[in-house]
């Protein structure tokens, strides 16, 4: 009773320790302080989940029953790790670059991201792994039972089912806690990996401890134990060659394809260089694990009573010798083996189930809702948690209903054979670009069907799933469809028989259909990406030489660069290489240079792809194509830029045309300039000449007429002078030779002065002042500004055609600018004349108003000199002119 209680306490304590380790590792990883987490040895130890309770306990049982055959289970992975670690590196690299989350994800992703394939692989994985989980539950339960049996406390623990249930529930809790803590993009679980690494140490330590105890404690030392082994039947048992090969192949395949192995090997991998260490450290671990298997088996067979379960020797041998502490340690080793396997398997399977089955269904059911809410994370987490619970529930149910017992011992290998069906699709996927989805799907289906029919279903025994008649007469009475004698081939070991047929046909169908059918574009892209993973990620731009046809390159280059440039480029390269003529050797340097040159014309990706093609690497990688796509996007962007440019050009053209129209108009105006000057000068001169002749010739003129005519001559002379003044003024302003006289003054005073000097106060035009009442101080050439104001007021007086002409002067301040609007209530300036009124002699109205048409032209020049502007303000009712000028004129602007 005490022992069992201690056992339970130790168990709980151990689990608590695991929780603690996992928790601390998670925390450390979160803080980024977990350098030791990234040790290659942690990675190596995590791989030890390969060694489950089946290996821990079962290897001894295996050895006791079948001799050295158990070694195949260790040889397979050892061969993979030592002889094929570069292949593993490829797998890991693909996993990283493609962000693979599980083996189902990898296979589906490789074959065009096929959902069907993902579901199928997931189902096979679940079916293949469930018995395995059941096996772990059973082994832990059995080890409990062994303790209780030894302590003669049977029944104290309640029935085995309850034990298994509690274990399953506890494992589910742990896995949920640490396996679905976060949803990292890379799906790594530091806490879990750390806990597993610890468990790996515990189980190795336990097994080695038991081994040492057995050899030196019971066996009487090394040589005595060796003698004992020689004397036993184990050493002489012949293992059939076929079974050796099949088992080695199976374990090698399973090492790669078991969902949990894939999880630790690929998904949890931190650094692919860890594989270097693992390639020798993991085989060393396996060797240590297997070192004492035979001694324990032999000694156990010798010492334990007849009928004792050899699967429990590791536990029962120390117990039988009264070594309860050692037995406890051994129990913990087995417990560790079982729990670590179940935890990782549950994580791996739940990832697959939730990603490939639950999520697609949920997304379909939720339809647009999921996309809108965008919060898929909690759904994913929930799906994972439920999946973990589901996987463990399945394992438990399998354990309950398969009846337990001896049948479970073979389950490990049956599982291996099941998941080994992934191997052709996996290997083909990463090494053969021709492999395609149809082939993978068909191969998997055939392999899985044969496995189920010849190994899995028969494992339940006749009458459970397959009726006895099927075993004897074959399916549907076809004798060639007997589960253990497919196609009439009898006499084979059932396992070898199943593995041979399933793997052979799986591979054959996979290859055949891959050859016969055409992959979809996405499959091609993914295939290239997977198979060429090192070329792209390792040395993306590098050329490793190869036999290229320089002439072909030349032809291509000419097409892209133009004959002259291509020829000179090639010639230069050839000369640099010390060759005569136009064709250089296609060295990597030359190819890179050529690519660079061409990328100037067609873009880097296209250039790379084109050179690739000529280099005999017709493989245009996904990255290449994506880059091409990027360039296409860039080209589209360029195109839109071009369109923008084109629009701009159109705009410019329109502006030019408008400018041209204006120029044409101006040209007409300029053309008329001399004519205008002539007219403006001749008109007053006509009066002057005519009247002066009248005065000269006429004797009979009265005094009144004399005075009148003399006045006319005087007026016209003044008009002439004013015109000449204006012309000179304008000329000076236009040439920029004007000297400004900057003074301080108030705007109000200036407007008052302007109003007064036009003589409009009271009579005729009424002037309103609006806006700023305050007296704005400004600093500018007051005389020139006054000239502008006077001109505008005078214009209103002259041209405003309203019955009761009014002029509104509105003053406003915008930042540092003054805005003065002069708006009258007349009919304004016609739309088509508004652009011209500031030009010289551009009189709008036909009526003679005394001006020569230079006023506004002068105003414009003045305002430009004062750093401001004068514009016509359309849509104000009457003619409206806006004068803007800086409050403080900066002398520097001059």
């Amino acid at each position: 009773m005490g022992t069992l209680n201690i056992l339970i306490a130790v168990c709980l304590g151990y689990v608590a320790l695991l929780f603690l380790v996992a928790f601390m590792a998670e925390r450390a990883a979160l803080r980024g302080r977990a350098k030791w987490l990234r040790s290659p040895f942690v990675y190596t130890l995590s791989l030890s989940i390969y060694c489950t309770a089946w290996t821990f306990y079962g290897a001894v049982g295996f050895a006791a029953r079948s001799g050295l055959e158990f070694l195949t289970i260790y040889i397979g992975p050892t061969l993979v790790m030592i002889g094929w670690w570069w292949g593993l590196r490829k797998l890991v690299r693909i996993g990283r670059t493609q962000r693979i989350t599980s083996i189902a994800d990898l296979i589906s992703s490789r074959y065009g991201k096929s959902p069907l394939l993902a579901v199928f692989v997931t189902l096979i994985a679940v079916i293949g792994t469930t018995p395995y989980i059941a096996l772990q539950l059973q082994s832990v339960t059995l080890s409990f039972a062994s303790f209780s049996a030894n302590a003669d406390e049977a029944g104290q623990l309640g029935d085995h089912d309850a034990t298994a249930l509690w274990i399953a529930a506890g494992l589910a809790l742990f896995t949920v806690l640490f396996g679905t803590r976060n949803l990292d993009a890379n799906e790594r679980h530091h806490g879990v990996v750390m806990a597993i690494a610890l468990e790996a140490v515990v189980k190795l330590f336990a097994l080695v401890a038991v081994g040492i105890f057995v050899v030196w404690g019971i066996g009487g030392g090394l040589s005595a134990t060796l003698d004992r082994i020689d004397a036993s039947a184990i050493g002489t048992w012949q293992v059939p060659d076929g079974r050796w090969a099949a088992l080695t192949l199976l374990s090698a395949a399973a090492f790669l394809t078991l969902p949990r192995m894939f999880q630790v090997l690929v998904v949890e991998n931190e650094d692919e260089n860890h594989l270097r260490t693992a390639s020798w450290a993991f085989p060393a671990y396996l060797m240590l694990m297997s070192l004492f298997v035979v001694p324990i088996a032999v000694v156990g067979l010798d010492l334990m009573p007849e009928g004792a379960n050899p699967d429990q020797f590791v536990l029962t041998l120390p117990l039988s010798q009264g070594q309860e502490g050692l037995a406890m340690l051994s129990f913990l080793g087995g417990f560790s083996s079982a729990t670590s396997m179940v935890i990782v398997a549950a994580i791996a399977l739940s990832t697959m189930v939730s990603n490939h089955i639950v999520m697609p269904i949920w997304l379909r059911l939720a339809e647009g809702g999921a996309m809108i809410s965008g919060d898929v994370r909690h759904v994913v987490l929930l799906a994972r948690r439920l999946s973990i619970a589901g996987v463990l529930a399945l394992g438990y149910l399998y354990y309950r209903f398969s009846g337990g017992g001896e049948a479970l011992a073979a389950i490990g290998l049956i599982s291996f054979a099941g998941v080994a069906q992934f191997l052709p699709a996996l290997m083909g996927g990463i090494f053969w670009r021709g492999a395609n989805r149809v082939g993978a799907l068909a191969g998997l289906t055939v392999g899985f069907a044969i496995w189920a029919f010849t190994l899995f279903l028969p494992s339940f025994g006749p009458g459970v799933f397959l009726p006895e008649t099927v075993f004897e007469a074959g399916l549907f009475g076809n004798s060639w469809l007997r589960p253990e004698a497919l196609f009439g081939i009898t006499g084979l070991d059932p396992l070898v028989h199943s593995v041979m047929w399933s793997m052979t046909l799986n591979t054959a169908v996979f290859i055949l259909l891959s050859l016969l059918t055409f992959p979809q574009p996405l499959e091609r892209l993914q295939g290239a990406q997977f198979v060429n993973v090192f070329q792209h990620t390792g040395n993306p731009q590098g050329w490793s030489g190869g036999v290229a046809q320089a002439e072909d390159l030349m032809v291509m280059a000419q097409r892209i660069l133009g004959p002259v440039e291509a020829q000179s480029l090639f010639q230069r390269a050839a000369t640099a290489q010390g060759l005569a003529g136009y064709l250089p050797d296609p060295t990597p340097e030359f190819l890179q240079m050529l690519e660079r040159e061409m990328s100037g014309s067609v873009g880097a990706a296209t250039a790379h792809a084109m050179v690739s093609q000529i280099m005999g690497r017709a493989t245009v990688s996904v990255e290449d194509l994506l880059a091409v796509a990027d360039e296409t996007a860039q080209m589209m962007e360029h195109q839109s830029q071009l369109e923008a440019k084109s629009a701009e050009l159109t705009r410019t053209a329109r502006q030019l045309r408008a400018a041209n129209d204006k120029l044409t108009q101006l040209s007409v105006q300029k053309d008329a300039f001399l004519s205008q000057i002539s007219h403006e000068l001749r008109t007053p001169m006509t009066s002057i000449r005519s009247f002066s002749e009248i005065l000269r010739d006429a004797e009979e003129l009265g005094q009144e007429q004399l005075t009148k005519y003399a006045n006319i001559i005087h007026q016209e002379a003044i008009r002439l002078t004013r015109l000449l003044d204006d012309l000179l003024d304008l000329s000076v302003l236009e040439n920029g030779q004007v000297n400004l006289n900057i003074q301080r003054g108030s705007l109000t005073a200036l407007l008052d002065h302007a109003t007064a000097s036009t003589g409009v106060s009271g009579a005729g035009l009424r002037i309103h002042r609006r806006g700023l009442d305050l007296d704005v101080e400004m600093e500018t050439d007051l005389d020139r500004l006054s000239q502008v104001f006077i001109n505008l007021i005078a214009n209103a007086k002259k041209y405003c055609d309203a019955p009761r002409p009014e002029l509104t002067i509105r003053v406003a301040q915008r930042d540092n600018y003054l805005v003065v609007d002069f708006t009258d209530n007349g009919s304004g300036v016609p739309r088509d004349k508004q652009d011209l009124i500031f030009e010289k002699f551009a009189r709008v109205s036909d009526q003679k108003a005394g001006g020569a048409g230079l006023g506004l032209a002068i105003c414009r020049e003045i305002m430009s000199r004062l750093g401001g502007a004068i514009t016509y303000l359309p849509g104000q009712g009457g003619a409206s002119f806006r004068v803007t000028l800086p409050m403080r004129m900066r002398q520097a602007a001059e």
């Binding site: 001399l674 004519s675 002539s678 007219h679 403006e680 000068l681 001749r682 008109t683 007053p684 001169m685 006509t686 009066s687 002057i688 000449r689 005519s690 009247f691 002749e693 009248i694 010739d697 006429a698 006319i712 007026q715 016209e716 036909d846 009526q847 003679k848």
Partner: protein
Amino acid sequence: MGKHVLVIEDEPNIIEAISFILSRDGWTVATHSNGHDAVDVVRDKSPDLVILDVMLPGKSGYDILTELREGEATRDLPVLMLTARGQSKDRDLAERIGASRFMTKPFSNAEVLEALRELVPQ
């Protein structure tokens, strides 16, 4: 009663000058100062001679002359064109559309009177 002359001109001072010298020379002078209805005024008053300025508000002297030459009654009416734009192309245009005489401003009073007497024999 002298011959009738219609002066179509928009500069008040020039109208004044021409009116004075023509009246003194015995002409009966009528004046009109815009281009809009100048053709109607000519038809209405049927003067013996028209002095026509080129730059008129409303309608140019050239247009008025063209219209006059198209009209039955005014086809042969003597028209003396006056312009302040003294370029040769103006003169060419005036002669092409049928001006009887073309003179540039400023003119000499005597020249005008002489031209009128040639156009309308007294």
